[in-house]
């Protein structure tokens, strides 16, 4: 393995001395460089992640992320709640793609229960899953500009994201936390005229992609600041368990939507998995931009072929899941989200291991930030794209 572990004894000693709650912002150590805090309140962290960075001039000697500012103990809480009640918890893992967090859990419980979910429900789930992906990645496409000093793209992103959120709201009743999935199907069917509106919005999203491509991605400054910055080789990415666009930007052609047998409807449409060879920050941006375009294609095809029928299977009101264990994972906007559900035959699970994409994506930081210049640090953080609720659970 070429990857060395990024842990440094000095880093540990420093963090232990300060305590996790240390608020020191600049620590000057005589002739041994400078240790500064990045965060916890830094906009590039999408939440409250603190990174202790030791600098020698402008070069990073070591960097150590400190998580836990938003740790809510979801894995413990799942053990004292019933299965339907857990949906509200996992909604808040990665709060930008709440719908996508619900789906694999529901699939897992349905697998353990042996419930046959109607096809229409699975198709609508897939459509909203992809809409969640668009809403999530649009934030990234605009936000990356802000991190590099270009303010305008984020306004465009939020403006056009609003159309997508309105559609999610009109179908589910919630803009950010839909709670639309039920065990065995969905809460409700799609509202009237929703399909027509969605098709119009998908055009707007594609226009946004074109706009951001010419405005930001083809900008010379943007290219200079992202190309060759934060290169992750394929082998290292695999060893750290990176997933989603981060690993596809390192040239790994792997997408669970295509490569995993799933009851969801991706196999019914024609679409392409985009990869990039470079593995740098620019590649990660480029791959995500293509993914948004691809998602609009998937949604349009699914809307055209949406089957009729019931949207929910018959399930008992009091859901007792038979004993057993299952592992279900899907390709979420940020990467591979998986639930290892162990049921002991009760109203709630015995244990749920939540494998979140951001946790693995961020664990590469000590390795990646080493020997980097401090000006590139934010670029790399922004391009890895993590949501803190997804790290801290």
């Amino acid at each position: 393995m070429t990857a060395t572990n990024g842990f440094d004894q000095r880093a540990a000693a420093y963090i232990n001395a300060q305590g996790v709650d240390g608020r020191v912002n600049v620590e000057l150590v005589a002739d041994d460089g400078m240790t500064i805090n990045l965060g916890p309140q830094h906009p590039a962290t999408h939440g409250t992640l603190r990174i202790v960075v030791h600098l020698d001039g402008e070069r990073v000697v070591w960097a150590d992320p400190v998580c836990g500012y938003m740790h809510r103990g979801y894995e413990k809480l799942t053990e004292v709640r019933t299965y339907p009640q857990i949906t509200t918890l996992i909604n808040r893992l990665d709060w930008l793609s709440s719908f996508a967090n619900e789906v694999p859990f529901m699939l897992g419980v349905e697998k353990l229960l042996g419930v046959e979910t109607p096809e229409r429900a699975q198709w609508i789930r897939t459509i909203l899953f992809e809409m969640g992906r668009i809403a999530n990645l649009m934030i990234f496409l605009g936000d990356m500009g802000v991190q590099l000093g270009a303010i305008t793209p984020v306004f465009y992103a939020f403006r056009d994201r609003e159309h997508v959120l309105n559609l999610i709201e009109s179908a589910t009743g919630g803009r950010f936390h839909p709670y639309y999935n039920r065990i065995g199907g969905l809460k409700d069917d799609l509202p009237r005229d929703w399909i027509v509106d969605t098709k119009l919005t998908m055009k707007k999203v594609r226009d946004f992609c074109d706009e951001i491509e010419t405005l930001l991605m083809n900008n010379d400054i943007f290219k200079t600041r992202t190309k060759g910055v934060g290169v992750i080789p394929k082998d290292v990415a695999l060893g750290y368990g990176l997933s989603g666009a981060n690993i596809r930007a390192s040239g790994v052609d792997w997408d669970l939507r295509r490569d995993e047998q799933s009851p969801l409807a991706w196999s019914h449409c024609e679409w392409k998995v985009w990869t990039h060879k470079a593995g740098d920050s620019f590649a990660r941006y480029w791959v995500r931009l293509q993914e948004v375009r691809e998602s609009t294609n998937i949604i349009e095809q699914l809307l055209d072929g949406l089957p009729s029928g019931p949207f929910r299977a018959k399930v008992r009101k009091i859901i007792k899941v038979p004993a057993g264990s299952t592992w279900v994972h899907t390709e979420n906007p940020l990467g591979e989200l998986g639930y290892y559900i162990v049921s002991a035959g009760g109203l709630g699970p015995h244990r749920v291991k939540i494998r979140t994409p951001s946790f693995n994506n961020i664990s590469i930081l000590p390795w990646l930030l080493k020997d980097m210049y401090v000006a590139d640090l934010i670029t790399v953080l922004a391009s890895l794209y993590f949501i803190l609720g997804d790290i801290d659970r």
């Binding site: 305590g19 740790h71 053990e79 004292v80 368990g241 290892y340 002991a344």
Partner: protein, 207 residues
Amino acid sequence: MAYEEVLKTLEWQLGSRILQSELGEDDLSIRVNVQDWRSAAQICREELGCRYFTFLSAIDWLVNPDLSGEKTFSTSTQAPDAAFTIITDEPERRAGGTSRFQIFGRVSDIESGISLTLIADLDENDLRAPSWVPVYPGADWHERETWEMFGITFDEHPGLRHIYLPEEFEGYPLRKDFPLLARQVRPWPGLVDMEEMPGADAEEDFQ
């Protein structure tokens, strides 16, 4: 490569070091001795090409004091008794085992789509296992989390320290005998939803 072949390869490589295996529909679980925990991962990586690290964690098999079986939510103000029984049944425990703590890790070969779960039983009086970090660098944070939440030590880990909780935190929160104080103080209001309507037959009651 189908899962049967993967199992054959592993049986050939690991031999008697496989204590038990369970072949699912599109899944494979292998239970090994804890001494072989790292060498099994090494073989998965080198011989099977499972270069992708998914996750690593642990399970405490004490009966959940709150929601298991026929029980409803605990409303007692007492801390749960430590003398709870351990779940040892087959359907829950993939690939068997009888110990209270099990660690499990998942690795995949993303090119062929093969992924498998490795499981090892731990001695309750000596909760330690060899670290996976030399094989999969991504195991670093997962082992820190498992150490923090279950109190399982990973030998040769480059720096076991807290990842989520403060340094001075005491106890291991994901163990079943660690009381969830919020529930002890006030019963979970969601309990109301679970009460059956008087006279209604729950078996016939559909959504």
